[in-house]
């Protein structure tokens, strides 16, 4: 609760400073505010409080995932100074809307009631429709926002319809009451409840971008301003998958039901399609879109496995995935700035002109592939172990095959940077930006070496 309040106040302050025309104060204010709400969030650790008749339940999982969301947002805002350098228009609206989107995301990780889930998703989504179109002059940005808005609002309808059907059969929005209903059903659920469940699932699957509800993702990612794409690929994805996971952990309590097969199939399709299609992408940004799709497939393993390790595995996974993805987007921003596009050929010979940036992107790609001893490997390993604990051998084998396939596209930028002839364009990068990139790279390595700091805390 303190997280939501402090972030909302931060958002309002940002808008206020915008009105006061104090543009240069915005970023320091936001970064300090994010650190403060991070501290406030962590203070809630082990408090297990619930608010407003269990509308919000702040348990340790909620605290941990909120912390990941705030941390990712912090990392993204640290890239903002460079990204918006030289932009003359006031930025308080974009920053403010990003903070409000984060509020929605935090609500999705700590809801105890389906109404709050819906509120959270809508707060997040409406903010994102605005953000996707925030580069008003660019036609691609307009295209992205229109596509996202049309599909997103349509799928919100699915979600709401699902919630309504669940309400119709259980008589409650409250997760606790639903869980009582579920255990009373003892395995045989009425069709209305199942229909509601599947519609809810579809609504969330769209937000996470799971195959076959992923078609919007590459186009929207490509058109959206790169900094905000990073936000979509990390914060939004984490929040949505956690929302789905939370729904099942709070209502089904280890009861295995019909929904597992559905998610099994979705995960299977997502991993295979995401990885295979990733190979054929012409540029880095679309490749990262498909990378994010296939990673949501891996994260679904935690939902299917539903084992004692699942929540912790998901925590480590979202954290390491987010850091590596933001690092990649950090380099992508530089590439687009220098070349005006992000075809793989624009990366040629980067290792010669900018060895540090090339190294950061390499570490990020290797971590996403899952090469030890980086964070991505530990996360994948922990997740697969959680899945194997429940005997999901075949799904894990598919996931591992997917990791092997993903080498084919994650190595494209590496090969371009180290092995191709240089195109002699040196990227100009300021010192703080470099330090930030190095910090994230170091985090990837450190989480890989010291995974026990995150493992076993939930």
């Amino acid at each position: 609760m303190t997280t939501i309040i402090s972030l909302t106040i931060l958002g309002i302050l940002v808008l206020f400073f915008g009105i006061m025309k104090k543009q240069s104060w915005l970023l320091p204010l936001i970064l300090a505010g994010l650190v403060l709400s991070m501290v406030l969030t962590i203070l809630d650790w082990n408090s297990f409080r619930s608010y407003y008749h269990e509308m919000l339940i702040v348990d340790n999982a909620a605290v941990a995932f909120s912390a990941v969301l705030i941390f990712s947002t912090f990392l993204i805002f640290s890239l903002a100074a460079h990204y918006y350098k030289g932009v003359l228009r006031p930025l308080d609206d974009i920053y403010g809307v990003m903070i409000f989107a984060l509020v929605g995301a935090v609500m999705m990780t700590s809801y105890g009631n389906l109404i709050i889930l819906f509120l959270g998703i809508e707060t997040l989504s409406i903010a994102l429709y605005v953000l996707a179109g925030s580069h008003k002059e660019a036609i691609t940005s307009n295209e992205a926002t229109l596509k996202y808005f049309l599909l997103g609002s349509f799928l919100s309808g699915f979600l709401l319809f699902g919630i309504a059907l669940i309400y119709g059969s259980t008589g409650a929005f409250d997760l606790h009451t639903i869980s009582v209903y579920v255990s009373a059903c003892a395995g045989t659920y009425p069709p209305m409840f199942l229909a509601g469940l599947f519609l809810l699932l579809i609504g969330l699957a769209f937000k996470i971008a799971i195959v076959p509800f992923h078609f919007w993702a590459p186009d929207v990612y490509e058109g959206t301003p790169t900094l905000l794409t990073a936000f979509m690929a990390t914060v939004v994805k984490t929040a949505s998958i956690v929302a789905m996971f939370r729904f099942f952990t709070h209502t089904f309590h280890g009861i295995h039901g019909a929904w597992e097969t559905t998610i099994w199939i979705l995960a299977f399709l997502t991993i295979l399609l995401g990885n295979f299609t990733g190979i054929y992408q012409p540029n880095l940004k679309r490749m990262l879109a498909y990378s994010s799709i296939s990673h949501s497939g891996y994260m679904m393993l935690a939902v299917v496995a539903f084992s004692s390790m699942s929540d912790n595995a998901l925590l480590l996974y979202t954290l390491s995935y987010s850091i590596a993805t933001i690092t990649a987007f950090g380099i992508l921003i530089l590439i687009r700035e220098a070349h005006g596009n992000d075809y793989f050929s624009s990366l040629n010979g980067l290792a010669r002109t900018n060895p540090l940036e090339a190294f950061c992107l390499t570490i990020s790609m290797l971590s996403l592939t899952g090469i030890p001893p980086l964070a991505g490997f530990m996360a994948k390993y922990y997740l697969f172990t959680a899945a194997l604990e429940k005997g999901l051998v075949w799904l894990v084998i598919v996931a591992i095959a997917g990791s092997a396939i993903s080498v084919a596209y994650y190595f494209k930028p590496i090969m371009a940077m180290y092995l191709k002839e240089s195109n002699e364009v040196k990227l100009t990068v300021e010192m703080p930006y470099k330090v930030h990139l190095m910090f994230m790279t170091l985090m990837i390595i450190l989480i890989g070496l010291l995974p026990f700091l995150v493992m076993g805390i939930l």
Binding site: L366, P372, Y381, V396, M455
Partner: protein, 482 residues
């Protein structure tokens, strides 16, 4: 403590070397560093006691919630391979003194990083830590071959990476599967993994996963297709690292994991693996005869030789397993020697095609003598190191099946055919325009070759020391199969 020092020292060196400026200084630093590492290796060898199974043990907690510990140590088999690694590294670095690589600091840094990963593989006594080092060795290998390699290097090295990465992922599945079979709380400690009792069906799957992972690395026919291209395309130091040390990871993995854990499946499926290995021997030997590129020829001969090692391994006899251990060391020494000499020839003549060369012996007698010694060791002439290993291997295979021994024995005859024929065409006869102005070996080059020759004869004449170091551990591993 020495074990952990052996791992950390190359890591530290690989980072420090990035700050060294100037090509010459970098080379000297790399050489000095690898020599110190060899010194530490020798100290470990002296401290090692064959009677004790707790040699040079280092243990520390890592991910306790998952039962992963940083447990390092050495048994006789590990010790020999660690000695091989630390011994070959200075030789490989010294032999590349003539090359002026672009960005030398990065090149030697990767070589030292690879040494770290290799030693980690050979000394870790924990399943997951083993896997981590196993994968870690792949990254520097990939970059060494891809950045400093020859023509078409991007495609070749990518194929190499995909092959080995996929193989090792299968090994990871097998390891996690075993992990869940250990009693609660689960552990990756290799003693725990060894004590897992699997039913025959499970063993077959685990065997298959391990076998594919290791067979790609070794490589065993028909998983060898990445190998000739990669060896031929890699820079000389890269080929030496891959062929001399990295492929031993596969054989080591088979001894360390496959035999103790999948012994029943080995009795059942070993014959299939054996047939694959022996087919590979014949196939590779026949192809080697037709090769014109010397490096490719040595690459194919390597497939044949390691095929024999693998075949010996699957017999599960004491003789052959002893042979496997000693032949791992010998093969490493011999193939590095061959690659060094081919590299020296290529630098002088500007070509390594057999058809371009001839008459080198007249111009460069010292080179020809060293070449002859390494070549005879490769074809397993008595009194050289190759003979000891291959003799034991064939003895073991003979015990297992006479037919297989007869076919496998062809490898010695065939290797004599292609090796000597190559020698005849390149070294003897008249000099041509490529070889007219060849000069003989310099002192630095001799310094790289002399240690190898010493080892060829040391192991060839007095193999007892090396055999005895590993014997108790070989017996212990084979006990699992009874």
């Amino acid at each position: 403590m020495l074990t952990i020092l052996l791992i950390l020292l190359p890591l530290a060196l690989s980072l420090i070397i990035l700050m060294v400026k100037g090509e010459k200084a970098v080379r000297q630093f790399a050489l000095a560093g690898s020599l110190i590492e060899f010194g530490v290796g020798v100290a470990a060898f002296i401290q090692f006691k064959t009677s004790c199974h707790c040699n040079l043990l280092f243990s520390a907690g890592w991910i306790e919630s998952l039962g992963v510990t940083l447990k390092f140590g050495m048994d006789g088999i590990s010790l020999l391979l660690v000695m091989l690694t630390t011994f070959l590294l200075p030789v490989i670095i010294l032999s590349s003194f003539n090359h002026s690589y672009q960005r030398p600091a990065a090149f030697y840094s990767l070589i030292l990083l690879m040494e770290m990963a290799l030693i980690g593989v050979f000394t870790s006594f924990d399943g997951l830590v083993f896997y981590i080092f196993w994968e870690l060795a792949l990254i520097p290998a990939y970059f060494i071959c891809a950045v400093w390699g020859g023509n078409d290097r991007i495609r070749i090295t990518f194929k190499f990476f995909i092959y080995t990465f996929t193989g090792s992922l299968l090994m990871l599945v097998a390891l996690i599967y075993l992990y869940f079979k250990t009693p609660m709380p689960h552990s990756f400690d290799f003693q725990w993994l060894y004590s897992v009792k699997l039913n025959p069906g499970e063993q077959t799957w685990v065997f298959l996963a391990f076998f594919l992972a290791f067979a790609v690395k070794i490589p065993i026919f028909p998983f060898h297709t990445w190998q000739p291209d990669t060896y031929a395309g890699a820079p000389p130091a890269g080929s030496m690292l891959l062929a001399g040390i990295m492929l031993k990871m596969g054989i080591y993995g088979m001894i360390r994991w496959m035999i103790p854990i999948c012994h029943d499946a080995l009795h059942q499926w070993g014959i299939v693996a054996m047939i694959m290995a022996i087919t590979g021997i014949l196939y590779a030997s026949l192809i080697a005869i037709r090769q014109n590129d010397m490096k490719r020829m040595v690459a194919y001969s390597s497939i044949a030789h390691v095929g024999l090692i693998a075949a010996g391994l699957f017999t599960l006899t004491t003789y052959a397993t002893q042979g496997v251990v000693i032949q791992m060391v010998s093969h490493g020494i011999n193939i590095v020697g061959m690659f060094i000499i081919i590299d020296f020839i290529e630098q002088r003549a500007g070509s390594r095609n057999i058809s371009d060369l001839g008459g080198i012996a007249l111009k460069a007698p010292r080179l020809a003598i060293f070449f002859m010694i390494m070549l005879l060791a490769s074809v397993a002439l008595p009194l050289t190191n190759g003979f000891v290993g291959e003799f034991l291997l064939l003895l073991g295979i003979f015990e297992y099946s006479v037919v297989f021994a007869a076919v496998a024995g062809l490898t010695i005859i065939l290797s004599a055919v292609y090796m000597l024929w190559m020698y005849q065409r390149t070294m003897l006869g008249k000099a041509n325009e490529f070889t007219e102005n060849i000069h003989d070996l310099t002192w630095t080059e001799m310094a790289a070759l002399v240690p190898l020759v010493v080892m060829v004869f040391w192991i060839g004449l007095f193999p007892g020391l090396f055999l005895n170091v590993a014997l108790p551990d070989v017996m212990q591993i084979l006990n699992f199969t009874k």
